[in-house]
Subunit: 499 residues, 2 copies
């Protein structure tokens, strides 16, 4: 751990939020820029362990909703991308192209998938011929490549890891139910697992996925007031069905094209996690995604004390590791992860080390604690930063509740921040005041529904329409006047600067 | 399921083994050739579910042996590949090259990783500076691309999924311990989970990994007598350490290069599974890797019977699904997976459907069984193909044992076949007789240890030295004369034709 302990410290958020973000990732050893591969990063073990937890929780929810995992080729014939007009327009500028392989120039180049609607559309056409083959509910865990100009660790990298669901249905209504169902899976996951509240809504024409009929999304509020698009669920209509000839016989005997959806979340979620919970002391993690739930730091001055303290530490670790931490929805059972840090370092350095890594619970264990039969426990954040001293049995009996309370506390704090940072704006002056300089916030505003006004707002302020809220996700629809053009509007939409 | 039930039937093994292999994969709906992407395949949900089980079991074993997962970029600067002389020689002909991205020609092309020693070597050099940073124990689950001339589903595809372990150590002895430890993880997994016995050994210079000091391997015997290299564990010596300048300060203060290992298994294992257990009726799966352990087929003639039978089926399913099927080594708990096939099809068609998919246990449930309080159970293979009729409680109490016995039976059968198909050959006449036509077998033969003889044997018969056995994995070393050259040899080696 020598190199990773070359701590450079953390820039305070108030001083430079983007630098703080990079610092948290470096100090928690989540990832580092690859440098030698443009816009890519290496996801280091601690960061990858968080991604594995995200994967496992989401994967269980996808299976619970009837989906199966499969795997499609990463290389896509270049001609496939051009088959859907809007799709190629959106993705052509970002493609990485394989022109040579096996020592020869290829007759037709392949692109590395930027997303898999095209290659999967091709196979859906082979697999689907009758309504009896529908719905087809597939998910894929994969890497994709998009040649982005500006990249930022986790939030936007040239290569990233994600899951992409692809489904086909017999009619539009069923496809739309799927779009809504998966958006709810994402929204519930964000809230219940990531402790990250989100607004669920629909993208404007300008912001929708290239090739979609309609894109639904979840938008989260980061600490700096900017929005993070954290997941999308697309109603593809029959666009890809027609482009790839996904024809099927309906129950009434007529031929029709498949109604498709796609939906995805990515390693970007790790960035959202950082910018939702972390503080000036480093990473803060919700227990549901923490690779380590509790760290025990033994404190001793000599070998005799060490033997005694380590024996107690091992006993406490064993007891805690048997505490069931299963997700009630899943058919596997899970347990708490507890580690003992017995490295040859000062306790203070260990505290600092694990704080920066966001381990929810720290237990200090010294001879005096053992004499008193007590445990010294401190949570990473909350509770006024105080240590608590508890009889061992009482502590052990309270662990699960403490962990659950901590998860809830992080959610409460994030929800409170969202409430505090969400405003309703009615005039362009208010708007400019809210979004001046580098400021951002969640703002409910009237908008006239045109691309022109959207573009004008973006040009003036970098603010975009994040989404048109789904029912219950924003202010109740009421007529008003567009914040920019003054033209009539039927409901407020969510506006913010975005990552 | 309409399209997938367009059964074309299975070619008998005795008639055309390679065609049978393709047929089993098609009929079990494991995968299909991508066709539009050269040499690639689509892994379909049922095949991917087997791969997920392989991943989960292996991943737990990697973590138990101290490894952490991470993720490195898929794109590797072309110059990296050339840094290790043997490595570039071995892999250059198989590379896929990205020359254009983001609409522009790249200054330096990237290759899609054929394996990640080079890019990981680059980061090890950044992360390792002292013996205190060692050992570094990393694993990556990833896709790789190798432009192969001849491909075959699962066994050799242009893109494939795998895991690649990469470790760095302070000295050669520790690195060699790691090589041996991970070979044992693979060998134990093959035997205990896949029910596939293997020979553990060391590759010859000709067959070793390009860039390795020494390659260790597990070799399995397929039903047609051919060998399948099922996993490799490489002692990289300091080759990549020197190529990527992975320098560190030893405990004695001297500077040295890291001693590295790499080890991997891939989706090829699914092909090995097929060719170890399956029969002329289709796929046969060991329960430890079966996506579905038991299928319940309800049998009824009218709605009244259906209601009664389905109620019982649901009850039995619930009871069976609560049967703990955890791997004793893992910290998660697992359960049996049971499904009821209530499709509108004849029972016979359902039996055939699930047989081809290798579901270990079939339960038939009709009104007469319910009248008698009995369960009709049939295992996919073994037990003379007979149905057994058992009182429900007795059956339910025996399920776990039956599943375990079935796993053991498959291993016993595979071990028996390996014993039957392994010969000791002493003369070239015997050798030519054993390997004539398309025949193959596992043969222990003396070999003079030269590349020339190895090449001559291969040219004459397509037979290669699969491995030099580790102690206890083959006949005890004794001097003899090379089967081809007649020159002296110190021990017998394993020879076979190979996939």
């Amino acid at each position: 751990m020598a190199k990773s302990s070359d701590a450079k410290g953390l820039t305070p958020r108030a001083q430079d939020y983007p630098q703080w973000y990079q610092d948290v990732i470096r100090e928690a050893d989540l990832a580092e820029p690859a440098k030698v591969v443009k816009g890519c990063m290496v996801i280091k073990p601690y960061g990858y362990a968080i991604w594995e937890k995200i994967q496992r929780e989401l994967d269980a929810r996808f299976k619970d909703t009837g989906h199966s995992n499969a795997y499609f080729p990463m290389l896509v014939p270049q001609s496939f991308i051009t088959k859907e007009a809007e799709h190629v327009e959106g993705f052509a500028p970002e493609l990485a192209v394989v022109t040579h392989a096996g020592g020869e120039k290829l007759e037709e180049p392949y692109v590395i998938r930027p997303t898999s609607e095209t290659i999967i559309g091709h196979f859906f056409a082979k697999w689907i011929s009758s309504y009896r083959d529908l719905p087809m509910l597939i998910n894929q865990w994969a890497n994709v490549v998009r040649w982005e100009l500006r990249t930022r660790m986790f939030l936007r990298t040239t290569e990233f890891l994600w899951q992409e669901g692809h489904t086909a249905h017999a009619n539009h209504a069923e496809a739309r139910s799927e779009v809504a169902r998966m958006l709810d899976v994402y929204g519930d996951f964000a809230r219940d697992v990531m402790a990250m509240p989100v607004i669920r809504g629909i993208k404007t024409e300008t912001e929708k996925f290239a090739g979609a009929h309609e894109s639904w999304c979840i938008e989260a509020l980061m600490q700096d007031g900017k929005a993070l698009q954290a997941g999308t669920s697309h109603d593809l209509g029959q666009n890809f069905g027609k482009a790839f000839d996904v024809k099927f016989q309906r129950e009434d005997g007529e031929l029709d094209y498949g109604w498709q959806t796609s939906w995805g979340v990515s390693t970007r979620l790790v960035g959202g996690l950082v910018m939702t919970h972390s503080d000036d002391a480093g990473l803060v993690l919700p227990p549901r995604l923490a690779p380590i739930h509790a760290i025990i730091v033994p404190i001793y001055k000599n070998d005799e004390q060490r033997a005694r303290v380590m024996e107690a530490a091992e006993r406490i670790k064993r007891t805690m590791q048997d505490i069931d931490f299963s997700d009630p929805r899943c058919r596997y059972r899970d347990f708490l992860t507890v580690e003992i840090d017995d490295r040859d370092m000062r306790p203070g350095a260990k505290f600092y080390h694990w704080e920066r890594r966001g381990v929810p619970m720290r237990i200090e264990l010294g001879p005096r604690d053992l004499d008193k039969g007590q445990i010294c426990v401190k949570m990473r954040t909350g509770g006024d930063g105080k240590k608590e001293f508890l009889p061992e049995a009482e502590f052990l009996g309270s662990v699960r509740q403490r962990i659950d309370d901590y998860q809830q506390m992080l959610l409460d704090a994030a929800e409170q921040r969202m409430a505090d940072r969400t405003v309703t704006l009615d005039t362009w002056e208010e708007f400019m005041a809210a979004f001046g300089n580098d400021d951002s916030t969640f703002a409910w505003c009237h908008w006239d529904g045109t691309k022109e006004t959207e573009a004008a707002i973006k040009a003036a302020t970098k603010v975009t329409v994040r989404c048109i809220p789904l029912p219950g996700q924003g202010p109740a629809p009421e007529p008003g006047l567009c914040i920019k053009s003054g033209r009539p509007s039927t409901q407020r939409v969510l506006m913010a600067k975005a990552y």
